[in-house]
Amino acid sequence: MGFPQRKAAIVGVYNTKQARMIEGSSWTLALEAIQGALDDAGLKHSDIDGLSSMMYDASLTAQQMWVEQLGGRPMTYTSHGIAGALVTKAAAAIAAGLTNVVCIYFGNAGMRAGPSKQRAAAEAAPVVRKAPRVPDWDFNIHGAYMSAWYALWTRRYMDQFNAPYENLAEYPVIARYHATLNPASIMGERGEITVQDVIDSPMISSPLHRLDCSLDNDGGYAILVASAEVAKNCRKEPIWVLGGGEGIYTDFYMSFTNDWINDNGQSVRKASEMAFAGAGVTRDDIDVAAMYDCFPVTMARNIEEMGFCSVGEGHEYIKEGHLKLGGKLPTNTDGGLLSHSHCGNPSGMHVVEVVKQLRGECDARQVKDAKIGAVLSQGYAVHGVAGVAILGKD
């Protein structure tokens, strides 16, 4: 049995304002996003009967509170993870008759992640008399954090494939260019950058410079996936879920083996192969894409593992400009995590951007006649969690 193509569609999407600090609570920001997506779809909160929360976020108990918030009546479906996988599983659940309208939601206010948060906490903390204790194999014991982790992956990639840093540094340049065409992006107003600007930005964790690193900001978003029956009465044209897949592996940066890059692939490869096979489309059919791009090396590995180029050639694919608007695989046209927004758990915004592209709502950054799009959500350096959704319009 294949993937139930065109049985469910994305009918509503919404990004709240994305900014360094947003007043209010994460709850109110997520609520604003849900209301925005409902308006976009022309649906009411009482139409929602399935809920999907994002990785690290809402536990089942918190989901139950959201069920109360959104109408105080039983819902029939719940899921948890990263956006590409949540869209895929919502579509499968809808096709199976478990639910009719699934809401994927996220909000993050006043809760910066990363070193800035840890430093603020360290400064606010009382004088330390005993060292803080963390789980026994936690990377924080060794002074690691996300940028340092991805610096380790970047160095390994560069050494294994003789990949020049300058090739990878082309990615932030592309992302910033896209952001200049997206009025909602955080960095667009600062204008375009060059590879030399990336190299000249402060070193964070070698070889990564500041402009190689994701933003660290607040924001929210929501996505509504609905049955074909519901979709035909919605305000906007349906963006069909054609195929998808999920992969899960690795124990949060604690275990590694030397097969990070191997012939069989890890989570992203598995999810991608499943998604393209289920959708019955080829890589060449993809008009527009959005992929989790927390650092340049992740983008290089994304396109390799998704099959858009060979393993070890991702850095050259980036250098050749294929990901840029006008290239053969325009990707992250909103500016992505480096120049649009990284609101702490941002994988849903990759879905939002592809939906807007397929609807033709992207103005200056619109990919002409985009009909089929691919979304990749991933985490843990490409071999960890992965979610792929292939989307298409009528």
Partner: protein, 141 residues
């Protein structure tokens, strides 16, 4: 120089991993080795990843490995902020067939001299006033 209290995160010392922490105190980096299939594992799990046997023994590794990857951190979190620049390394141990890769900071090394493939050894740091010894890596000359 007055000894400053250690203000970086430290691991919880749990009973099920007691032999590991005792090993560090004895100058050994011990990992679970499966008595059924012979695989060495890092991080520890209650059962072997290869054959799911729970018959594993904490076994001392050679304590030597090679740098799989490294970074020089210039912006450190929390208690590490004043240590920059410091070197963080992923070190591949020779004990196979699923060779463990272990994360740690490098000490006694010029950051510019670190390279992928560099031979290193585990070194041990007893934390004053705390109940754990932690590990680092140093060049194995």
């Amino acid at each position: 120089m007055t000894e400053q209290p250690y203000n970086k995160p430290l691991p919880q010392r749990l009973p099920e991993n007691e032999e590991f922490w005792e090993g560090l105190e004895a100058g050994e980096f011990r990992v679970p080795k499966c008595n059924n299939c012979g695989y060495w594992h890092w991080i520890p799990y209650p059962a072997c990843r290869n054959c799911l046997s729970t018959d594993q023994t904490w076994t001392a590794t050679s304590g030597k490995g090679t740098v799989f990857s490294y970074t020089v951190v210039h912006r450190g979190p929390g208690g590490f902020r004043d240590d920059v620049p410091y070197v963080l390394a992923m070190v591949e141990f020779p004990e196979g067939p699923r060779n463990p890769i272990v994360l740690g900071t490098m000490v006694d090394v010029d950051p510019d001299a670190v390279h992928t493939g560099m031979p290193v050894k585990v070194v041990y740091e007893e934390i004053p006033g705390e109940d754990v010894t932690i590990w680092h890596f140093a060049p194995d000359n």
